[in-house]
């Protein structure tokens, strides 16, 4: 009897030892469950981000107004020619006479870096903004200046008024009630973000079209309908140093 009992106990012992090897401990099982939970959360997280990417991409594809608006507001290049054209139209429309213009070179406004660390994901996915400044001197009435600023505010382009000075006119060639202003305007443009796809994808976690409210509608911009390309006579001239009489 004792032998049989010992035999069975030894079998249980062997099973116990073998199972200890095969079956993980309580802590290991807890860890495996935690791993599964984390994996499921990562999947849900990825699904959510990819859904947001798809929804936004689809929305931009279906309505290209937003895309046009975005690249008009912050173009990839300075487009100084368009800026000068716009300023000329702003002055003409408001009745302000622009009698001096000067422009400064490009300045780096902000940069984005190629980042990989998970702690640095948010906030690093940024456009590489640059700007140039245009200083203009104007002459006009008070009302025309107000219209000038209204037109500037309605431009499709990102423009910041860095400095404004409005003085009473002392020059006798202009009307007595005319005002003279010196205005420094900052026009921004931006290159795309250099962040890695992983960092960009992370930013899509909380993005949706609901977060974007279109600031300017087509009929609220100056000039109405948006700035058109300049028209000019092509063909050149034999002597580029003299205008034809």
């Amino acid at each position: 009897m004792l032998r049989i009992a010992l035999f069975i106990l030894s079998i249980i012992g062997v099973f116990f030892v073998v199972f200890q090897w095969f079956i993980p401990s309580y802590e290991d099982m807890g860890k495996n469950k935690e791993d599964l939970k984390q994996a499921q959360e990562m999947l849900t997280d990825l699904e959510e981000k990819m859904t947001n990417v798809d929804n936004l991409a689809q929305a931009f594809k279906e309505d290209s107004t937003n895309v046009t608006l975005a690249y008009n507001y912050l173009p990839e290049e300075g487009k100084e020619d368009r800026v000068l054209n716009a300023l000329s139209l702003v002055g003409q429309n408001s009745g302000v006479f622009i009698n001096d213009v000067a422009s400064s070179g490009e300045t780096v406004k902000s940069t984005s870096q190629r980042v990989t660390s998970s702690e640095e994901t948010i906030g690093k996915n940024a456009l590489r903004q640059k700007y140039f400044e245009v200083s203009i001197q104007n002459v006009g009435s008070y009302e025309s200046f107000k219209q000038f600023f209204r037109n500037i505010a309605s431009l499709e382009r990102d423009v910041q008024i860095v400095e404004t000075t409005i003085n009473q006119n002392e020059d006798e060639q202009f009307d007595a009630d005319a005002l003279v202003s010196d205005i420094v305007l900052r026009f921004s443009y931006a290159n795309n973000s250099l962040a890695t796809p992983e960092v960009i994808l992370e930013d899509f976690k909380k993005r949706s079209m609901d977060d974007l409210t279109v600031v300017k509608q087509g009929d609220e911009v100056f000039p109405i309908g948006g700035l058109k390309d300049l028209e000019f006579e092509k063909g050149g001239r034999e002597n580029p140093f003299f205008a034809p009489s």
Binding site: F16, A39, L56, A57, Y71, A126, V162, T165
Partner: protein, 176 residues
């Protein structure tokens, strides 16, 4: 003779009685063995299923990530960032119009704003106020201070000039 028969029967029944506890113990041990096997087997299966599910979920995640069109995502991100910047651009030219509108409301008849300067960095207005008499300047400064539109009013200088009259340099800041 009869006694010997009785003694034999007694010893046989004793032997029978001795077998019972052994059987029970054996049964109990086997039952314990089966129980341990079943318990461990169940745990093993459960743990394996967790591991398998984790592997499946990770595979699915990898497949889904691989299916992402990164070029499309980068383009979408670019448009989104530009629209976001547009949204957060703030007033700018509207700020100037707002300030001029406030000045229209607070300027007194005895004084004139000769110069208006606004810089983004300082956020305030630098004004040159001119009046023929001292009470004109004082009324204008009082009007600035009484107005709820301004959060701060600071008189920087005051001087009398022969041609212009009384000239005051005032720095005012619009309230939020």
């Amino acid at each position: 003779m009869g006694d010997s028969i009785n003694l034999y029967q007694e010893s046989a029944s004793k032997k029978k009685k001795r077998k019972d506890p052994f059987d029970k113990a054996l049964f109990g041990m086997l039952f314990l063995l089966v129980l341990v096997c079943a318990g461990y087997g169940g745990l093993f299966t459960y743990n394996q299923s967790i591991k398998n599910e984790t592997t499946n979920v990770k595979d699915e995640t990898q497949q889904m990530r691989a299916s992402l069109d990164e070029e499309m995502m980068i383009e979408t991100n670019d448009v989104y960032l530009r629209l976001e910047a547009m949204q957060n651009s703030g007033g700018r030219a509207e700020d100037i119009l707002k300030q001029l509108g406030v000045l229209e409301q607070v300027v007194v008849p005895d004084a004139v704003i000769e110069t208006y300067t606004f810089t983004t960095e300082e956020r305030g207005m630098q004004l040159t106020v001119v009046a023929d008499f001292l009470d004109g300047i004082s009324r204008q400064i009082t009007a600035f201070r009484d107005s709820e539109q301004f959060s701060s009013v600071e008189v920087i200088s005051l001087k009398l000039e022969e041609e212009r009259g009384l000239v005051a340099e005032v720095h005012v800041t619009l309230g939020s």
